[in-house]
């Protein structure tokens, strides 16, 4: 070693990034851990809904990892318009769902490069493992991410380093390559063994993403929104508030112009209430039932259809007729309607 190095470590709090942090810190390198907030965080959404089903509050795993390893940590918000723009137009396409993992990694690495330069650090490292993910962690895409981010030679993957070309900090003697690893593939056995060896016991089990974009159900709603906009002749866009609403309630596509969101339980009803501004708010009158929102510009027929579905999910569902209040701002009207009974049709509209 020629001098004490400094590194920026990107951590999610999963086992791999925690191990990468431990490996680099273990070489006596000063580390600033960084965790990015994209706006698609499952932990945040669980907290918005009042915690998990068992009542517990999910913890921020990146903070847990930094605390366990006593690494200075910075939480960086990248959820702004530039991130949404990347999400809508990913140069390298989507993964199995709405996850533009390669573009997202490039986006994060560019931000990490800025932090590296600001902090006077020598390199950036991640917990990526060669071949672990079908798209974003292939050898060629790891190289693309490095090149496109401008981190050429300054992006270290400690868990797979011995299988990759030596980086500049290794060549400069700032990092001891011999103490890095040669892991590859989807298995976790070596990581679990290493965690045990260095005394890490408290990491997320099982391994899993913390990002809604990899969630199939969320993804369907995301692409439905974009397709509907396209069909209605609108541009490809999405707002942060719309992202939040994609994580709440049952969604029904009434037409390219209109969508219905029906709350499932008190917490979701309250969330929909909170986001009712600029949307129509529906609720059955005189009986217990969900709060619902309609986005877009429904036709009179679609308004009645939405009201019938809302009535179907409330206590009036077995009545011949129900009354549903349709409110837009200060204007309200009551729609008398037979609750929807054609389950196949309702399911057909479900996103």
């Amino acid at each position: 070693m020629t001098r004490k190095a400094k590194a920026i470590g990107l951590i999610s709090g999963g086992l791999d990034s925690t191990l990468a942090l431990a490996l680099v810190k273990g070489q006596g390198i000063e580390v600033k851990a960084v965790t990015f907030y994209t706006g698609f965080c499952i932990t945040e959404t669980q907290r918005r809904k009042g915690g998990r089903a068992d009542g517990s509050v999910p913890r921020n795993e990146a903070l847990r990892a930094a605390a366990d390893l006593e690494a200075d940590v910075e939480l960086v918000d990248i959820s702004g318009p530039a991130y949404l723009e990347m999400l809508l137009h990913p140069r390298f396409g989507y993964g199995a769902n709405a996850n533009p993992c390669v573009d997202c990694r490039i986006f994060m690495m560019r931000k990490a490069k800025e932090i590296m330069e600001r902090e006077g650090a020598d390199f950036v490292f991640t917990g990526e493992v060669l071949g672990q993910r079908p798209k974003s962690q292939r050898r060629d895409t790891l190289r693309i991410i490095e090149r496109e981010s401008g981190l050429d030679g300054r992006l270290l993957r400690p868990l797979s380093a011995k299988l990759l070309k030596p980086t500049l900090p290794e060549a400069e003697g700032l990092v001891d390559r011999e103490r890095l690893l040669d892991l590859s593939g989807r298995g976790r056995t070596p990581q679990i063994a290493l965690a045990k060896e260095i005394g890490l016991a408290d990491y997320p089990q099982p391994a899993g993403g913390c990002c809604f974009l990899t969630d199939e159900s969320f993804s369907k709603k995301f692409f439905d929104l974009l397709s509907a906009r396209e069909a209605a002749g609108e541009g490809r866009h999405i707002s942060h508030e719309e992202v939040i609403l994609l994580t709440v309630g049952r969604h029904f596509r009434l037409s390219p112009r209109a969508k219905l969101i029906v709350g499932r339980g008190e917490v979701e009803n309250a969330l929909l209430e909170h986001h009712a501004g600029g949307r129509a708010r529906l609720e059955a009158v005189g009986v217990t039932g969900p709060v619902a929102l309609v986005e877009g510009a429904p036709t009179p027929e679609e308004r009645r259809l939405a009201a019938a579905i809302v009535a179907r999910y409330g206590k009036a569902k077995d009545r011949p007729l129900a009354q549903v209040e349709w409110r837009e701002g200060d204007r309200a009207e009551t729609i008398e309607i037979e609750p929807a009974r054609d389950e196949a049709r309702i399911e057909g509209m479900r996103i």
Binding site: A33, T35, Y37, C41, T43, E44, R47, R48, G51, V57, P58, R59, N60, L63, R64, A66, A67, E70, A71, D72, V73, E74, L75, D77
Partner: protein, 83 residues
Amino acid sequence: MRPATLPEPALTIDTSGRLCPFPIVETARVMKGLADGAVLLVVATDPGIALDMPMWCKATRNDHLATFEEGGRWRSYVRKRPR
């Protein structure tokens, strides 16, 4: 539960309505401007602050004094440790 004694905060920030990670992002931002030894009070509605704040303090080597719920809001006291 509120501890029997707590220091007077040099600064109070209210992060009510914001969720993980913003109470911590805001804490980190204002801590940079505080003098060594100063106490920051962070008010929050995200119950996750009871988990997040002790972990953030341990990672960043600041002193977590207390986090407790009072009147429907969480209060977290942190002392900036000298660098």
